[in-house]
Amino acid sequence: MTEAFFLRALLAGIGVALVSAPLGCFVVWRRMAYFGATLAHSALLGIALGILAGINPSLGIAASSVAVALVVVTFERQRLIGRDTLLGILAHAGLAIGLVALSFIEGARIDLMAYLFGDILAVTPRDLAWIAGGGLAVLATLALIWRPLLAITLHEEMARAEGVRVVPVQLAFMLSLAVTIAIAMKVVGILLIVSLLIIPAAAARPFARTPEQMALGAAAIGALSATGGLAASLAWDTPAGPSIVVVATVLFAVARWGRWCRGAWGEVFKLGRTLVRSVRVGTKSWRI
């Protein structure tokens, strides 16, 4: 049975997975997972401000993301507070202020759970259009900055000496991250968005020899997670967004375990061979 709403959910899930996979690889390579989480959490403040100001919540998210990125860049130079502490303050302050601000909104038409954990089964054709448009814009931007962004990730000073213009490239990357968070929110919600960025990328790492292979592998694992999560949600009536993340985590575990197994089975095999040999030697000497 394929209802229209399920088909839309499937398209939205796969679409968001395909966009967040290559972006997520950069988040993993540049060790920005916590930065992504901060952008996502403070997006709730953007949503609240967007609703209060009467503008599209997606624009509110973009505005809050840019503000957070600017605060991080500005305060990074000071040394009295570590980067992780600063990000933690911003993430939770954004979340808390957003929750407080939402409580001021009259009508209570706002489904807080949908923002926090996503509502993929309620995706409208309009949402799909946003995902398609935003996703294509992000992928196009990423294709454009792929080489310089990789060069900066490898060695920023070397890239600068080679004429890469670091600031515009990093700005484009940051904006792509903000847009991805805005379109992924409907699928998994702001509390789980980072998982969609980093888990498929981490799962793809053992199988990749080049950055591009890792991005493609992450896209495949992400799409598989979205499909599997939605199928599980349909079969067992579990919440859709969290189910997608659970499936992604299982795939990650299988990927790591598979690699670990190769080593472990090798050890077991060696041990077995040694045992068999010593038994043989033992029986021989025993017969004599």
Binding site: W29, R147, A151, E157, M158, R160, A161, E162, R209, P211
Partner: protein
């Protein structure tokens, strides 16, 4: 005192009266430096002498607090930073690493560049599995792919075993001859300066002395700066090019003794 930085048609970069500060700390003062096409300049000096600061200013990564840097218009620089540690979370083969050197790289160029540094067999290796010497060669190949006129190397032999260091110096000398490159090299190893060096600049926040390697090793300012250890003189590595070294620095063919330059013979340290 160093002469006014003179510029001619061969000049690639000319730094004049540089001064650099980190907060209240003076890192460089009154520094003049020129590098011309086909010339190898080696920068030596103790830790904290401002060698890396000077290199960063020359590369345009940092603004001097006073003085200026002239670069030949359209100058292409190949830069080998002191430490390139590629995080293993980023999967990368040598082929792909070289492909990132500039937009639109063809496979044949990658092979040519690797051939030039005698590392063709590394093309499909992961960059995470390379030895120090192999990685430096790959970095050199990557720099060459940008067809540079100036090569800037910040301690290129760091983390490379002694045989590999000799091979690497040989390679840099060969590349200079073949392409007419200007080379600016930083060395913190005071005892080994490659023989092909045309000019040694001895830096300790200011330029203590500069000139041909042997002249510098006899300069009182040099001895004063580096103390008793320098009394033996600047060890200038040189040997006859009658054989080749492989990647690990082993001699590939007729084994002949390394000729020591008048400055002293280089001995492998433990």
């Amino acid at each position: 005192m160093p002469a006014e930085a003179a510029r001619d048609s061969e000049t690639l970069v000319a730094a004049e009266h540089l001064e650099a500060r980190y907060g209240a700390t003076l890192a460089l003062t009154h520094v003049d430096l020129t590098v011309s096409a086909g010339e190898i300049v080696t920068l030596i000096g103790p830790n904290g002498a401002g060698k890396s600061t000077l290199v960063r200013i020359i590369l345009g990564l940092m603004e001097p607090s006073a003085g200026r840097v002239w670069r030949r218009p359209g100058l292409r620089i190949g830069y080998l930073p002191q430490r390139v540690a590629i995080d293993p979370v980023l999967p990368l083969t040598v082929r792909r690493f070289l492909g990132l050197a500039r937009p639109g790289v063809a496979e044949a160029e990658i092979r040519d560049a690797l051939n030039e540094v005698a590392a063709a067999e590394l093309i499909d290796h992961s960059v995470h599995d390379l030895s120090g010497g192999e990685f430096q060669r790959v970095l050199l190949a990557r720099a060459l792919m940008r067809r540079p006129q100036l090569l800037v190397l910040d301690e290129p032999v760091q983390g490379v075993d002694f045989g590999g260091q000799i091979a690497l110096y040989d390679l840099i000398g060969r590349l200079r001859r073949r392409h007419g490159l200007g080379v600016l090299m930083v060395s913190h190893d005071l005892h080994v300066v490659m023989a092909a060096t045309d000019r040694v600049v001895c830096l300790n926040r200011h330029v203590c002395c500069s000139g041909a390697p042997e002249a510098v090793s006899r300069n009182p300012a040099y001895t004063e700066l580096f103390g008793a250890a320098a009394a033996r003189g600047l060890a200038i590595y040189s040997h006859d090019h009658d054989h080749e070294h492989d990647l690990k620095g082993a001699v590939v063919h007729p084994v002949e003794g390394h000729g020591g330059a008048p400055g002293g013979k280089v001995e492998p340290r433990p």
